[in-house]
Every structure is written in C-alpha cells, then in structure tokens.
Amino acid sequence: MDYTIGNIAPIILLPFAAFVINAFIVKKVPKFAVGLGCITMFASFCYACRVFKDFVFVTYSADYYVHKVFTWFDLGLINGKPFNVDMGIYLDNMSAVLLLMVTGCALIIHIFSTFYMEHDARFGSFFVYLSLFTAAMIGLVLSENLLSVFVFWELMGFCSYSLIGFYYEKEGAGNASMKAFMTTRVGDVFFLVGILAIWSTIGSTSFVDIYAAIASGAFNDLTVVGIPLVTFSAISIFLGTIGKSAQFPLQVWLPDAMWGPTPCSALIHAATMVAAGVYLSLRMYPLMEAGGITTVIAYIGGITAFGAATIALIQTDIKAVLAYSTISQLGYMVLGIGVGAYNAAFMHLITHAVFKACLFLSAGSVIHSLHDHHTDGHVQEMPRMGGLRKKMPFTFIAMLCCTFAIAGFPFFSGFVSKDRILGDALLQALDHKTMIAPAVLGFIAALLTAFYMFRMMFLTFYGEPRDKELYEHTDVETLSWNRNVPLLILTVFTLGFWYSGSLTGQGLVKFPGVEHKEWFSTLIKKPDVEKFTKYKREAWGSTDSRDQFFEKAHYDANHGMTEAQAHHAHHVHHIGAIMSIIIAFFGFFIAYMMYIKKAWSPGWWSSKLSPWYRALQSKYFFDDLYIKVIIQKGLLGMNNFLAWIDMGIYDRYIVDGTEVINRFAYRVSNWFDNKIVDTVGVDGTGASVRLFNVVLRTIQSGKIQFYFMILVVVLVSYIWTLV
Amino acid sequence: MTAYNLNAYMPVIILVGFAIIMIVGALIVGRFIRPHNPSDLKETVYECGEAPMGVAWSNFHVRFYVLALVFIIFDVEGALMFPVAVIFRKFNEIGSGSAVFVSLLLFIGVLLAGLVYCWSKGDLDWVKSYTQQSFNEERDEKKLA
C-alpha cells in the first residue's frame, strides 16, 4: 500500500468534516447529522482497516514504519540550530493497531449512542462532539511530532470538557467538566514545558528526531535547573501523561467524568482521552528510559492501580465503579511502562479499551433501562438494582464476559495482557529490591479488581431485585441492532486469542502454529533508537525508499533474550501466571461469598476498618486536598492574608485604636474627641476608600481610549527595549 | 511591463485645476456682475413655503447603511479582481489559464455567497418586513420594561 495523502488523510478528515458540517446543520436536521457522523466514522474505520491490514498482514515487520512530512513552519536558524516543525504522519505497528482500535471503538460507540441518546434533546449535538473527539484522537495517533500531538491533545481536552459538561443544566456536570479541564491543564503545562525543552535542544519535535537525538547523545551534558535535560523533559512529558491518563496525584477528574452521557464516558475511558496519555508515554519510552525515571513511573503506576482499586471497592454507583477500575487499569499500563513491559502495556491499552468500552456501554444499557418514574431520571445506584439478568440477558452476557476479562480470568484478553505486566513486574522485583513495592501493589490490585468487578456484577444482575417497583417498570430487553449488537461485537473481542497465540500471553500454553498467532508481541517492539540515526526524512509524495530494508518479523520465543535469561524469565512468568489465576479466582470467591452466599458480611468489614472506609469514601481526601488545601489555603491564603492586613492591622490599630483614644480623649476633652473622630476616624476612612476608588476606577473604566493609550505605552516600551 | 514617466498624469492635475478655476473664476466674475440682495426670507431653506422645522440632519434608516455595506464589499472584491482579469488572457495564452479560471471562479463563488446571504436575509429589499418605526417602538417598550 502506498501511503499517499489520499488514503491516510480520510481517516482523520472524514470525522473532522462530519464535525464541521454537522456543526452547521445539526440544529436543522439532527437525524441527518447523526447519520453523517456514523457513516463518516464507518468510512474512517474502513480506511484504518486498510492500514492495519497492510501493517499486520502484508508487511509484518517489527521495524516497519511510515514517516511522511511536509514543513509546517520553519523558523530558520536560531543560534545556528534549525528550528522547524513538520506536519505529517508517523505510522508504525503501534499506531496501526491503535488506529484500528480507536476507529473501531468510536464506530461502535457512535452506533450505541444512536440508541442511548435517541430521546435526548441535544441528540444531534452529541454526535458533533463525538466526531470531533474521535478526529482529535485519530490526529494524535497519526501525528509525527510532539507539537501536533499537543495540538490534538488540547483539542481532546476541549472535547472532553464539552462532553462531560454535556448536561450543562445540571450543576454537577458543569463543575465536573471544569474540574476535568483544569486538572488535565496542570499536566498539559508540564507537557508543553517538556516539548519546549526538547525543541530548544534538538530543534525539532519529531519522534524520529528525538529517537535519533537520544541515540546520538544530543541530550548529554545538558542540564536544566540542575537536572539532566533528558530527565527533565522525560518527567515533564510524563506529567502530561499523569494529567491525561489520570495517574496518582491528578486522578481526581476521571471519576467526575461520568457526569457526561454514558457513551461519552465509554469514549473517554476506553478509546480516546486516557489512552492518549499512555500512548504518549509509550511513544516517548526511549526518553523515559534514557531519563532514568522508569522506577518512578512504576511506583506511580502501582500506587494508582492499588489506590483506585481500593476506592472502587465501596462505590455504589455502577459508573463510579467502572471509572475507578479505569484508573486502576491505567495504573497497570503505567506500571507496565515502568517495569519495561512495553509490549504488554500497549496490549493492555488495547484489550482494556475493548472491554472497558463494552463495560461502559453495558452499564449504559442497564442505566437506560432503569427509569425511575418518581424522579423522572435514570438510576445508577447498584443498591436499587439486582436480579437484572432475567430482564437483560444480552447485556448480562456482554458484561459478564468483560468482567471475566478485566478480572483476569484465563482465556480472556485481560488475563493475557495483565498477566504479562505482572510477570514482568515480578521479574523486576526479583532483580531489584526497589521494584518490589510496585509488583506487590499490582498483585493486590489484581485481587481487588476481581473482587470489586464481581461485586458489581452480583449486585447488578444477581440476587433478588432490591427495588421492586423499579424492577417492575423495566422492560425485557430484546435484541436490537444499535443496543446489543455493538455490545456483542465488543464481547467477541474480549477473548484472549485475538491478541495472543498462547493462553497467558507469555507463550506458556501455546496454540498450535503459534508463529502466526503471536503477531502482537512479535510486531510491537520498543523503538530501537539506533536505527533512527541513519534515517533521512521523506516528504509527502516521494516514494518510500526503505521498503527493502525491512525483514519480515519472526516469532522469537525468547523475546530477544539469551537462553539463560529467557529460562529465568519463563520461570518467573510461570509463577506470575499461576499467581494471577489464583488471585482472580480468589477475588471471585470472596465476592461470591459476600454477595451471593452472603456468608461474609460486607458491613462487618467496613465497620472493622472504619477509618480506612472513611478514607475510601472521601477518595483518599484528594478532592479535599486540592480544594481545601491548595485552592483554599494556597490561593485563598493570599486573600486571607490581605484580609488579615485589613482586619488585623487596619481595624485593630487604626479603628480600635481610635476608639481607645476616643474613650480616653472623651474624658479629657470633648473638643479633642470630636477632632479625632471626625478627621481620622470618619474622614480618614472615607478618604482612603475614595482614593482606592479613584485608582481602580481609572484602571477599570471600560474606556476604550484609555486601554488604547495603555497599549501604546506598552508598545513604546517594547520598542525601546527592542531598539 | 511598459515604462512610463509621471508626465502621463499631468492632464489629471491640469483638468482638476480647470475645474477649480472654473468654479472659483465663475463665482468671482459673477460677484461683480450679479445682484446681491440678501434677505432673511431668502436665506431660509425651502420647505414648501413653510418655516423650516428643525434641521435636516436627522438619523436615517439603516437600510442605506446595509446597502453601502454590500456595495463596499463588492467594490473591494472588484478592485481585487481587476489585476487577475488583466492577466487572464496572458496566462491563457501560455496554457495555464485553468488555474486563473479556477481561482477566479472560487473568488466569484464566495462573492456570490455573500450576495445570496444578503438576499435571503432581506438586506437587499428596500421596503423591509420590519421598519425603523416598529423597531423604535419595540425598543421603547423594552426601555419601559
């Protein structure tokens, strides 16, 4: 396949065109806009399939990549260094797979949304945002440099803001969207700093150039505020990931993102928003490695995975459980990056996207059915559900398969990918003492995941209906093309063998003819930075001259290690796999005992561990920390300080002092008293207020000419500094 | 590209000079031969024989402005089209007329879009479905409310 603008550009331009057209016509013909959004999404998916087919079925080479650029803007030579930014595409196996996943998930979510949002007042405009959101994510995946990644990154931030706040008439939705926007902004600022650090060093932000610069040591010997530059930029970019993928200190926005409509949650949690952060870290993996921050990454991943899993234990809102499970699973991915399981982390990104999309859509299906006639709203609380599997058999099947997948049951995709991350974490833990903690946290989180997911399943679908009236009003589900078919399609892909030729992903229990079925771990490799030093960039339209260099990839059972290392690794992976299976079944068992047999009371546990329970209920006090400490103490502190000056000094010493003197002077002399009160006490206060009034009024007069004069003054000062 | 010198613009100056001379000259000459009997009544403006009421410089209907607005856009676009129109023949002769044709068509298309917009919104109608009168009334109502 030749990668011309004609067969790459439609992938992003079709959804974007749908956005542009729909933005204008949606008010007039919402039905048409919806159709257009779905059809363009389908076309985009077809194009992505072509790319995927070319990479996986035709070329089948681990090193193959397509890199086509044109100059976006060129700042010329600055201090002898070229400063330019290209625009173009960078496609390798990872992008191709991710592209397929994004377009596929987005297509399915589009279709499901036609069911879910059908009776919504803003049915059409929802699709406008969906199109833009998807287009932004596709653009991010296709991007060949950090700056264009940043552009789409921010575009996605805007879309998530609009979608989370889609029901803006609800107060919570508005606040949640604001929160998501502001929290991710913290990460974005650091990301931008990282981009600038890299750009100012090597004069380009292209991935290829960054890889080449790492290989040739262009980052060596440079420091920023005492930190080696490569570490600085790696940390900055990883902070971007932390913001976007809701990692440990900045995870607070993701649970609130469920204020949006459920399909948009599916899109945010599965295919687009959070995947972008992990994708960025994977893309910049050589930088992270060179910067030596993998341990930090592993810790952050482990802490996130564990912490979010614990919070998910006690959630009663079905979407909240899923939201925290997303954070937890993202923690796994970041943990995978930290322990060097590049391939496994990416595989978990894909598998998680599929089953989490399915979970959210299933949850949407459940919520949509449960309509409370008293409040005229949908029910999301699990305590009011129960026994729904009879009413919703298809949703139940889909959700059960996904739960198996996320809990890490054998034969399901989650097991394949998660087990590989945990196996590598275990391997690292055995080699380095410092890496024990993340591995242990990962294993505990796996147990918790299995538990809380089955808890959710049992509470929702099993047992007796706890809200009888609600149950009565719920219609029996019939198979419909835009409700159950998308779920069932996704369910099919929660099976593990699509991704791995072996049962565990570590090549332990192999299917026959494994060479062709281990495509995932064969094709997606850490970028070998040395290879990029020799590469000359190619412009759009030029034929690719590198085709002959790429060999077909071969399945390597040892994954590039020596025999002894491989043996050791296999041994450890065996242990890890067995542990994973035991843990998953154990989690299932606990949940079964608690919620089906009701042998163990959850209440006993929560009363036993009540301080921790309270901590979980308030989500480890992070919201409190941010709102009460940073915002209120930090920003309001300044305010309070000023207020203290006002009240503490001004009032106490001037006003109160005046009063004391007054009282004293009243006794001494009436004349003296009047004098002090009138001049200092009353007129003085008035005068000072008037003075500040004058100053403020002058600045904030709203008079255009005054602003213009200030503009002139600024311009003049600029000229004088310039000349 | 033909060179020229500024003498080509001489007649412009001369003709404008003639215009000034004619006006000033005729008025100066006339001053000596024509009567000059100013009277109070003569110097009032004509208002069908009645005493003029107020000044004429009151505010006019906004349709004048909207038409002028459409005009200035067309004027500017016309001014931009002139150089392109001039080189069309030359480009056509060297075989790259299509590019000019397409860019001209695009340009005219956008121009037409503006015209169609104004047409559809009723800006080109002199007698509109709304009037300044009713607008003022509505504004006054708002003020009261």
Binding site: S701, G702, K703, Q705, M709 | Y65, I73, D75, A79, R139
Partner: protein, 101 residues
C-alpha cells in the same frame, strides 16, 4: 525630493495624526477616521519601502491587503457604531464603558 525619508516623514505625520485623533476625539466615528489614517500610513510605508529598498512588488501586495482590511474594518466598525447608536442613542465613546447593556 522623492526619496525614502520624505515618504517616511509623511507617513509618520499621518500616523501621529491618526494617533492624536484616536485619543483626543470622543466620537466613535472620528476614532475610526483616525484608524483609517493609521492604516494609510502603514500602507504608504509598505509602498515606499518596496520602491526604495526591496524593489519588488511584495509591498504593493501588502498595501493592497491593508486597503482591503481597512475596508472590512470600516464596514464592521461602523456597523457596530450604528448598532450601538440604536441601543444607546449616542456615539460618544464614554457611553461605551459597560460590557452589559
């Protein structure tokens, strides 16, 4: 006589006049007149520099687009003035100090 400094001087005078008009007058339309003067001085500068320094036609293109922008600016600016007048019955700039009606 016809040299770069003299053109710069003329455009400088136009610029300063425009600036003075923009600040001294309180009538919005008068302020727009000042804007036109400033835009003209800029366009004149472009044409002068392209004649005396560059000796290509890029400055002419630039001036052409300045003229176009000026026309667009005048159209939109005056529309705002008229709208403002319809609301406030005034074109005094100091009446336009509030964001809300």
């Amino acid at each position: 006589m016809i040299s770069l400094p003299s053109f710069l001087a003329i455009s400088f005078i136009l610029f300063v006049s425009g600036l003075v008009v923009m600040i001294a007058k309180k009538n919005i339309i008068a302020i727009l007149l000042g804007v036109e003067l400033i835009l003209n001085s800029a366009a004149l500068n472009f044409a002068a520099y392209t004649r005396f320094v560059n000796q290509n036609l890029d400055g002419h293109i630039m001036s052409l687009f300045i003229i176009i922008i000026a026309a667009a600016e005048a159209a939109v600016g005056l529309a705002i003035v008229i709208r403002f007048f319809q609301i406030r019955e005034s074109i005094h700039i100091d009446d336009a100090t509030q964001l809300l009606q």
